[in-house]
């Protein structure tokens, strides 16, 4: 199934990537070609087959229920968390105004 330019524009909007008309014109046939090719999976009889959830059997662990069990991923690291923010202000992430 091929996808048209309008569909690409909709997906791009869902993915929050702005695209020029030129880009949409270029991407539509490329994505169609790739999607046409993956269509072949429809030939495979998968009745009664469970979708893969984990490649290697593993059990989910619980960490100790304590504050800052791992200091690297715990709290109290505001400055480190904000260090790479393009617009950190007053100890927060700054974003354009969202409420009028």
């Amino acid at each position: 199934m091929s996808i048209d330019r309008a569909t690409v524009a909709k997906i791009a909007s869902l993915a929050r990537i702005s695209m020029s008309d030129d880009e949409l014109d270029r991407m539509a046939p490329e994505l169609s070609q790739i999607l046409d090719w993956v269509e072949q999976l429809g030939e495979v009889d998968t009745s009664g087959v469970e979708p893969m959830t984990a490649v290697i059997p593993n059990h989910l662990r619980l960490r100790d229920d304590v504050v800052d069990a791992d200091p690297l991923t715990g709290g109290g690291r505001r400055d480190a968390v904000l260090a790479n923010a393009p617009a950190a202000e007053h100890g927060f992430f700054g974003v354009p105004k969202v409420i009028e």
Binding site: L14, A15, V44, V49, A54, V55, I56, N84
Partner: protein, 494 residues
């Protein structure tokens, strides 16, 4: 006299430990090789001071008579997918340009703990999406190899770990880290005449590794030979509570248990890998590999992996789906690039930031992933692909009833010229046809250099093993390596 840069991991470690030369001398020699290799564009940033500091530490530890690590005095290259504290980490993207992690990835920390130092951050395909190193925001990596026809066509080092492959094969670093999602360690290793191993999914922590497709991503080692790969992988691997998929298993002493004797082992040859239109040179090399396995004492058996031909299509649904989700984090708010057009609101900022920050291949995969996960298409694409993935894993489980390791070519071709496949994304994807199935099943697999094609370019053979059996993979790799006697290396022109 042997140049220090001719030495690999084991030779350097043993030389430093035994006092033949100092770690500082080694670091200085490789720092000079890195500085002289800028034409290859293999590094995004170089870190000579990191290499020297680690070397001085190793020399001080030795002087104090204290025990030295597995990688004492070995300077390495670090793929730019690993977060390194205070050193720019970009995944070769514009959207992460300037990003300096406040923490160290578990794998890189493990390497520093073992005595290694860092020569620099290696160029790669952007977000590890590519098979030729042509999708980097920082430009193509040029392979140190050239065809023997006298032409100077710039060749691909493969991808996505193309910078890693280029520097190891060019004797610019003794070893490098790589990551493998669908073949990104094995294919570039094959195209540049070096060894590279992707361990069982979960052996190496993914913590601090920029995520592409989390159910497939796995770090591994790239070096000049099997022994060096084994030593380095031992240092990288290990349980990490910060990665929920990390294997809580001890790391075996792979390097101490290496053997090229395959008596009692069965080597499976999957008939479905003999694809239509296979390059006769690749096929001949594969037959040669079978002969080497027999010479090593192995029994060779034909096996069937019936769903092989569907692996690539399943991969190109699953990997983009996971990527579209993982890459949603790049929003111009918390780190990296922000594009804020005049009067833009929050949504416009997201869309402008991501438009400016991602390259074409990354956008293509995010869009594919968004599409296959979208309402109405999820079951037809994503669920069906995950079911096919189950069947592919089952194929391997059945195969293990009759064989211990599987031998295949690593890639369908030798290195191609930069630009040759760029216009056709699908043709590029086909380069991973032999490596993707093992990735989908989470299996350990490695590529070892096995020969040269008619143009003097290296070709590799792939060994795939059972879950957790890196030892079997490394041993079969060693059996091939010791019989292939591969000693070719690129002539230095840079």
């Amino acid at each position: 006299m042997t140049e220090l840069t001719d030495l690999g991991v084991k030779a350097i470690r043993d030389g430093v430990t035994g006092g033949t030369f100092t770690a500082r001398e080694v670091a200085e020699a490789f720092n000079a090789a890195v500085a002289a290799a800028s034409q290859l564009n293999a590094f995004i940033v170089t870190t000579p001071e990191h290499a020297l500091a680690a070397a001085d530490k190793t020399d001080a530890v030795r002087a104090a008579g204290l025990p030295l690590g597995k990688l004492a005095g070995v300077p390495i290259g670090m793929k730019d997918l690993f977060a390194t504290r205070g050193v720019q980490t970009t995944a070769a993207s514009h959207i992460l340009e300037g990003f300096k992690p406040q923490y160290e990835s578990t794998v890189s920390q493990n390497l520093w703990n073992a005595g290694a130092g860092m020569l620099g951050k290696l160029n790669m395909d952007q977000f590890a999406m590519g098979s030729s190193n042509e999708t980097s925001h920082f430009g193509n990596v040029i392979s140190p190899w050239r065809r023997s026809d006298g032409g100077n066509a710039a060749l691909t080092p493969g991808g996505s770990s193309g910078g890693s492959a280029a520097v190891v094969s060019g004797r610019i670093t003794p070893a490098a880290t790589g990551t493998d999602t669908g073949g990104s360690i094995r294919q570039p290793a094959a195209l540049t005449g070096i060894a590279g191993i992707k361990p069982t999914y979960g052996r190496c922590s993914r913590w601090g590794v920029v995520a592409f497709a989390s159910s497939l991503d796995q770090a591994g080692s790239m070096a000049r030979d099997v022994t060096d790969c084994a030593i380095m992988l031992e240092a990288m691997a290990g349980f990490d509570p910060k990665d929920a998929t990390s294997l809580d298993l001890p790391v075996p002493e792979w390097s101490a248990n290496l053997s090229n004797d395959m008596r009692g082992k069965r080597v499976g040859i999957p008939r479905e890998y003999r694809v239509e239109g296979m390059d006769p040179v690749i096929d001949a090399l594969w037959q040669q590999g079978v002969a080497w396995a027999r010479d090593a004492g192995a029994e060779v058996v034909e096996i069937s992996l019936p769903h092989t031909s569907y692996a690539l299509a399943a991969y190109y649904i699953i990997a983009p789906a996971e990527a579209s989700s993982n890459l949603a984090r790049y929003d111009g708010v918390r780190y990296g690039l922000r594009e804020l057009p005049d009067h833009a609101g929050l949504q416009d900022m997201y869309a402008a930031t991501r438009a400016a920050g991602f390259g074409d291949e990354v956008k293509r995969r995010i869009l594919i992933g968004t599409y296959v996960l979208s309402a109405g298409f999820y079951d037809a694409y994503y669920t069906q692909a995950q079911k096919v993935r189950t069947l592919i894993a089952r194929d391997f489980e059945r195969a293990w009833e009759t064989c211990d390791v599987i031998l295949t070519p690593t890639a369908p071709n030798a290195a191609f010229a930069l630009g040759e496949k760029l216009a056709d994304p699908l043709a590029m994807y086909l380069n991973d046809v032999f490596t993707v199935p093992a990735s989908l099943a989470g299996l350990p697999a490695m590529s070892v250099p096995a020969g040269l094609d008619g143009s003097g370019l290296p070709l590799g053979l792939q060994v795939i093993g059972k879950p957790f059996d890196e030892q079997g993979v490394l041993n079969a790799g060693l059996a091939i390596e010791s019989r292939a006697g591969f000693s070719a290396k690129p002539e230095k022109w840079w």
